[in-house]
């Protein structure tokens, strides 16, 4: 059961994409959000941190009492919500994607290797994982952020480094169930090196659940960012992020629903996009679903 060549796969990827409207939608959402993030200063005339207490809590435009100058309304400090959303896309995406990439890279590599090699290496890594997991996430965060201090880079590093365990365990579990499979035996018997077996044969087969989890992790990281920022342990309070907007707005939920609904929608739509992309990637990256479709 050999894998298709790189070229064939690329071609298949593209043709597959054409046949998958949900994947196209997912990619479109991600591109749209990314564009909003990049073009934020062009899209809006306002400054995301500039307050105007005279125009606070204005509802979005079609509603009564709205201000045409603020299409999506203003928050409790009179800041333009549209502006904060597009600027927030920057930070939220950055935090979500980069930290998941960090933790995914660390976790998957460790998990694959421990699962494959086993032995003392497996023992040490898995015990470290157990120890870290045994601490409630919030407590761990409070400890680390208190030592290294708040800020965007530190937040990404902390979320990235502490998130590895999920991937490591999942990847290891996948390896354990895969490594005795015939095709691995086959690869081994034709003299493939360990690294080749791990990354060419096991990884693609183990990737399905990992991608699903990772796509969710982007979302949950965006949400963790909200919790931490609200505790003063995330980004600086003036940095706009969706999570921050969500937790800032919760006191106003009864009188100004848009403060939380709009960033909430942004998170949901972005997560939807990432998930749809993740689903599709899972399908195309998994050789077995390919076989199934043939």
């Amino acid at each position: 059961m050999a894998l298709s060549g790189a070229q064939r796969r690329r071609a298949r990827l593209l043709s597959d994409l054409k046949n998958s409207p949900t994947a196209i939608f997912g990619i479109a959402v991600i591109i749209l959000v990314a564009l909003a993030a990049i073009l934020a200063p062009v899209l809006t005339p306002y400054d995301p941190v500039s307050t105007d207490l005279l125009t606070r809590l204005k509802p979005p435009v079609p509603l009564k009492g709205s201000d045409p100058a603020h299409l999506l309304g203003t928050d409790a400090l009179g800041r333009d919500i549209l502006t904060r959303l597009v600027y927030g896309a920057r930070v939220s995406l950055l935090v979500g994607i980069v930290s998941v990439m960090i933790s995914g890279a660390i976790g998957v590599s460790l998990g694959l290797m421990t699962g494959y090699f086993g032995g003392w290496f497996d023992d040490i890594v898995m015990r470290l994982a157990d120890i870290q997991l045994a601490f409630p996430f919030i407590l761990l965060m409070m400890a680390v952020m208190a030592v290294i201090g708040p800020g965007l880079r530190n937040l990404i590093m902390v979320l990235g480094v502490t998130g590895w365990v999920t991937y490591a365990r999942l990847a290891r579990g996948q390896v354990l169930s895969l490594r005795e499979k015939e095709f691995i035996e086959a690869a081994r018997s034709i003299g493939a090196g360990h690294m080749r077996i791990i990354f060419r044969h096991i990884l693609p087969n183990a990737l399905g659940p990992i991608i699903v989890i990772a796509s969710f992790a982007v979302a949950s990281t965006i949400i963790s960012e909200a919790t931490l920022s609200f505790l003063g342990l995330g980004v600086k309070p003036t940095t706009p992020t969706w999570g921050m907007m969500l937790s800032e707005g919760r006191e106003y939920v009864r009188q100004a629903w848009w403060l939380t609904t709009l960033p909430g929608l942004c998170i949901a739509i972005t997560v939807l996009g990432i998930n749809l992309l993740g689903d599709w990637l899972r399908d195309v990256l998994d050789p077995r679903t390919l076989l199934e479709k043939k």
């Binding site: 941190v49 500039s50 307050t51 207490l53 005279l54 606070r56 409790a76 400090l77 009179g78 409070m142 208190a146 708040p150 505790l231 003063g232 342990l233 600086k236 309070p237 003036t238 800032e248 919760r250 006191e251 106003y252 939920v253 009864r254 009188q255």
Partner: protein, 562 residues
């Protein structure tokens, strides 16, 4: 005084200890009420109540004025607080909420009324010796504990002595002891006690007011653990029924209470940390009173058909402090300029509906020098002051000198109060618009206070100070060697006058000195004084109750209607 709310606990504690560390404040001629005129309700100034030697005010069990409402003597009143007691021994509890709950179960020699004025309670009257060291209290003879045992001078003596013992001499009790300077107590007869202090303590009654009298016959046989976990006995209007940690305390009316039984049967204090949950409970009738309503939810409550909100100034003054050891902020022009950069009226309208006017100096009434006008919002004045000190605006619109931008970082500690958070962000933005590139940063409160105590704050900090109702305590935040002088402001003229204040006995001269000190502060602007914090309570319309200006949920006088 005391901790107004959990997140301010440490500040208050600090300022209180500070007051205690000072040389004994002067003995006023009459050891009656201090010159207190605390403004309890928003916008209205209440006259000072006269001396404490008056007969005890009889509790008016209010009959509602011509309504068809009927008081329900079997009612249950539920109060939702952020936190409740931690254990059953009041001496090892420190929070303001716990103080209020225990006050419902115990009696004190004297008490504070709704004007924060001292009134007789178990002690009907008292006198002080010539040298100010011996206080003689005359007690009522009709006060009984829940088990029917009369409360006597022996119990008072036992309570004062217990406070000094190691297991109990911590937290708030430790603070009270440092103020008390207790030497010994002598029982003259069952209803007369002499209390000796090591130094004259003119404000002693404010300490006594917080000391709940414990029954000797119960507590002398209890270990500290038993007193904390198993047994509680008091003489207050409500008997203890049950306690679940971080959940609720259930109390029941004590019919033998000397001031007369309460107008309802069961009193429950619930711990509900999340503000939105408290509001929802009030709306659904799950509770009758809620504490610390966020300003953001004020309109929600006022729109409820079954409840309304009442606000009360609580005496904690918010201010922005400077690191006076930094060359930048040791320049009075910079400090004044930043004071003028703040458009408080807009903030006040937006978040407090105009109820929290800006302070000129961080001193509570009645000691506040009302002749001083708050620094007006005046950007031209900012430019003038900054230019005078050699600062120029750079291309980005920020003040710059010797190639260095004026970019203060402002330290705040996390508190679950969005209003404070929003005010901070508004202030930061206003400073930015005036050319000060301010950036806030948040710390967890213990870390923040360690930084403050170690004087490690780089540029600025935002903090609330809750001192006693005495002007001297408020001023101590700026005395050079005081623990709560986080900014290390030192002004020789201030020190000189302050030293006089510490030894001055005459009330009128004290007032003059305090005014003089405020003039000095006003001219040198060592802080950016902001506002006096407001506590908002949500109250069910079927409950007749007003919040207490000391911030405690005292429910004895409440009446619940059917």
């Amino acid at each position: 005084m005391k901790k107004m709310s959990p997140f301010l606990a440490v500040v208050i504690m600090l300022s209180m200890i500070l007051a205690a560390c000072q040389p004994a404040a002067p003995a006023t001629p009459e050891p009656t009420t201090e010159i207190i005129d605390f403004n309890p309700t928003l916008g209205s100034v209440q006259p000072t109540s006269p001396a404490a030697t008056q007969p005890p005010a009889t509790e008016e069990t209010a009959a509602p004025a011509e309504t068809e409402k009927v008081a329900d003597p079997d009612a249950t009143v539920t109060v939702a607080l952020e936190t409740i007691i931690e254990n059953l021994d009041y001496m090892t509890n420190s929070s303001l909420n716990a103080a209020g709950i225990f006050e419902m179960m115990h009696s004190t020699l004297v008490t504070l009324d709704d004007n924060v004025t001292l009134q007789p309670s178990v002690a009907t009257n008292w006198e002080v010796s010539e040298d100010g060291l011996v206080w003689t209290f005359h007690l009522r003879d009709d006060v009984t504990f829940w088990d029917g045992t009369p409360l006597t001078a022996e119990d008072v003596k036992y309570t004062f002595e217990r406070m000094q013992e190691d297991p109990y001499n911590i937290g708030n009790t430790n603070y009270l002891n440092t103020q008390f300077n207790f030497d010994k107590a002598v029982v003259v007869d069952p209803y007369t006690i002499e209390v000796y202090t090591r130094v004259p303590v003119p404000a002693l009654l404010y300490t006594i007011e917080e000391i709940n009298i414990l029954p000797k016959h119960v507590y002398e046989t209890l270990t500290p653990e038993q007193a904390a976990a198993e047994t509680i006995m008091g003489s207050g209007p409500f008997k203890f029924v049950s306690f679940t940690k971080d959940d609720r305390v259930v109390l029941e009316r004590y019919d033998g209470y000397w001031e007369g039984p309460a107008a309802f049967k069961t009193l429950i204090y619930r711990a509900i940390p999340e503000a939105s949950t408290r509001v929802a409970e009030l709306e659904t009738g799950g509770v009758d009173v809620i504490q610390n309503v966020p300003m953001a939810q004020l309109s929600t409550i006022n729109a409820m058909p079954n409840a309304s909100a009442k606000a009360m100034i609580n005496g904690c003054r918010m201010y922005l402090g400077f690191n006076h050891e930094s060359p930048i902020y040791s320049d009075v022009n910079v400090r004044l300029a930043m004071n003028h950069a703040i458009d408080w009226d807009t903030i006040n309208q937006a978040f407090f509906q105009g109820n929290a006017p800006r302070l000129a100096v961080h001193i509570n009434k009645p000691w506040r020098n009302e002749a001083l006008e708050p620094y007006p919002y005046d950007l031209a004045k900012v430019d003038e002051l900054m230019t005078a000190s050699g600062w120029t605006k750079n291309a980005a619109g920020y003040w710059e000198k010797d190639g260095q931008e004026l970019a203060p970082s402002i330290m705040v500690y996390y508190a679950q109060s969005s209003e404070r958070y929003e005010i901070l962000l508004s202030l930061v933005d206003q400073l930015n618009k005036a050319g000060f590139k301010a950036e806030p940063y948040y710390l967890e409160s213990a870390a923040a206070f360690e930084k403050l105590d170690k004087r490690e704050v780089d540029d600025m900090f935002m903090i609330g100070s809750c001192t006693s109702y005495e002007g001297q305590g408020d001023l101590s935040d700026l005395a050079a060697d005081s623990a709560s002088n986080y900014g290390r402001w030192r002004n020789d003229e201030f020190e000189e006058v302050y030293a006089q204040l510490l030894t001055e006995f005459d009330v009128e001269t004290r007032r003059e000195l305090i005014y003089q000190l405020q003039d000095i502060i006003y001219a040198d602007a060592p802080q950016i004084p902001l506002y006096v914090m407001i506590g908002v309570w949500g109250i069910n319309n079927d409950l007749d109750w007003s919040p207490n200006p000391a911030g405690r949920a005292l429910m004895y006088g409440a009446v619940k209607y059917k």
